[in-house]
């Protein structure tokens, strides 16, 4: 151990493996949490690499497997990965936009033992407009939902909410009802990756969030047990941080498309840490012994106000990446917490958002695509929203 005393006596085993199989994606969502510099990464892992990652992680005790991306359907070896996951005893969850799903592939996933499919309704205003005007995307999604149902999967729909679509919540709920959705996750945007660079375009007003919750509660009362609805409030609108990843290196592990192993899908951004690749190390060494995974385990890294906080075992000081993005120091308290001396950074953003109508920002909204990613890589030296002026989406 590099820093004695920085880790708890006993390191728990991982339970959740998130496999970000590819960063390729047919969509260009402005709220995507994927890293903005994905075009600068090395080659994607091959099939054999992924099968090795699955085996090694399963030996450590991981049970839940998220197959994500990017759009995981862009990998033509997904069928092989699904089959191996089932044989190893994972509970496998495919997290997809549904774009590119065919009946044939779905049948192969079912046959291979895929446990669960979450369809996300993703492409921000373009798709939302499509839906509201009842055009082709809605028909495509409905068809995918129907196939999913025919293969006896529950219909699980995820809708990312933000300033531009949250007022359509009633239509979104009606759509879910028509699609006979069983689980609906209404997740407000988290401000990471593309979501962070577009934050001022996406952060809803407090009124918008309250109205949306109200409409959702009325709908819940009407629909009863037929649909289970989760409404995830944006953390900028709360005053205590989320228990990010249930604690660093505690249950969650992400493997990126190019093979890095991370304690959360955003941790790559943190300075001063190098995360190992599955091309060079096995998962056991990475989880238990790598300096990156031990960096924020336990609480000896904490500063005030976290160090003596009675909630430190409950929320772990919030999110290291959010602390770094907003304060420049990952060992600070997550500034969502109103005990943080930097809390004003969050409240200022919310106050700016509370002006209704157009966002008060000069930077254009950035769609998640290769061109914008390459431009952001060039501008990486100063990763603030101010440096993004002049970038155009296609």
């Amino acid at each position: 151990m590099e820093t004695a005393g920085s880790v708890p006596n006993k390191i728990s085993n991982p339970l959740w493996l998130l496999a970000e199989l590819t960063y390729k994606c047919p969509l260009h969502c402005v709220f995507c949490y994927n890293p903005v510099d994905y075009t600068s990464y090395g080659e994607e892992l091959g099939t054999e690499d992924w099968l090795r990652v699955l085996r090694q992680s399963r030996e450590l005790g991981a049970t839940q497997l998220g197959l994500s991306g990017g759009e995981p359907l862009m990998r033509d070896d997904l069928e092989i990965i699904v089959r191996e996951a089932r044989q190893l005893g994972y509970y496998s969850n495919l997290i997809t936009s549904g774009i590119g799903l065919t009946e044939k592939r779905l049948a192969a996933f079912k046959e291979g033992g895929l446990d669960h499919i979450q369809i996300s309704f993703q492409d921000s205003s373009r798709e939302m407009n499509d839906f509201i005007s009842s055009t082709k995307t809605f028909e495509l999604k409905s068809k995918v939902a129907q196939w999913v149902k025919e293969h006896e999967y529950p219909i699980v729909l995820n809708v990312v909410l933000h300033r531009m679509n949250i007022d359509h919540i009633a239509q979104i709920l009606e759509m879910a009802e028509r699609m006979e959705v069983e689980y609906l996750e209404l997740a407000n945007t988290q401000y990471y990756g593309w979501g962070f660079v577009n934050r001022d375009h996406l952060l809803p007003t407090r009124d918008q969030v309250e109205r949306a919750e109200h409409v959702t509660n009325e709908f819940r009362a009407r629909i009863g047990d037929r649909m289970k609805i989760y409404f995830v409030v944006p953390d900028y609108h709360s005053n205590r941080p989320k228990a990010c990843m249930n604690g660093w290196g505690s249950v969650f592990v992400t493997v990126t498309a190019d093979g890095l192993v991370l304690p959360c899908h955003e941790a790559r951004m943190l300075p001063g840490l190098t995360f190992p690749s599955v091309r060079d190390h096995d998962m056991r060494w990475i989880w238990y012994d790598s300096p990156g995974f031990n960096a924020y385990r336990g609480d000896s890294w904490m500063k005030e106000p976290c160090r003596d906080c009675p909630d430190k075992a409950k929320d772990f000081g919030g999110c290291r990446c959010q602390a770094f993005m907003l304060t420049g120091d990952a060992t600070n308290a997550d500034p969502v917490c109103d005990l943080s001396p930097y809390h004003h950074i969050v409240t200022d953003a919310v106050d700016r958002a509370n002006v209704p109508g157009k966002p008060v920002t000069v930077s254009p909204i950035l769609f998640r695509d290769d061109r914008n990613s390459r431009q952001l890589v060039e501008k990486k030296q100063e990763p603030t929203t101010e440096t993004l002026e002049g970038l155009q989406h296609r």
Partner: protein, 97 residues
């Protein structure tokens, strides 16, 4: 939300669709797996859920447990756990489909 019908000794419980019960060597425990979640079960909870198969009634499960662990009067403990499991949506009365 609709009230759940209470369990009786005649109820035949089953796992909901998409729930999986399995032994985890790394946890040294039985677990219940479901979409994006997992419950780690105590030894006794594991013994009870092992017998939930959509074919045997609650009284049959109790009898089988009392055969496996003779001398114990398990009826109330089993019922209490099954009520909790039902309340959490881990089991449900068998549905015809």
């Amino acid at each position: 939300m609709a009230e759940r019908a209470p369990l009786t000794t005649d109820t035949v419980p089953e796992l909901p669709r998409h729930f999986r019960f399995q032994w985890e060597p790394a946890q040294n425990a039985h677990v219940l797996l479901f979409p994006e979640g997992m419950v780690k079960l105590s030894e006794s909870a594991g013994e009870i859920l092992k017998r939930v198969n959509g074919a045997v009634s609650v009284s049959g499960i109790i009898k089988d447990l009392e055969r496996t662990f003779p001398g114990a009067d398990l009826g109330q403990d089993v019922m209490d756990f099954l009520e909790i499991a039902h309340g959490n949506g881990w089991i449900r009365p068998k549905q015809d489909k």
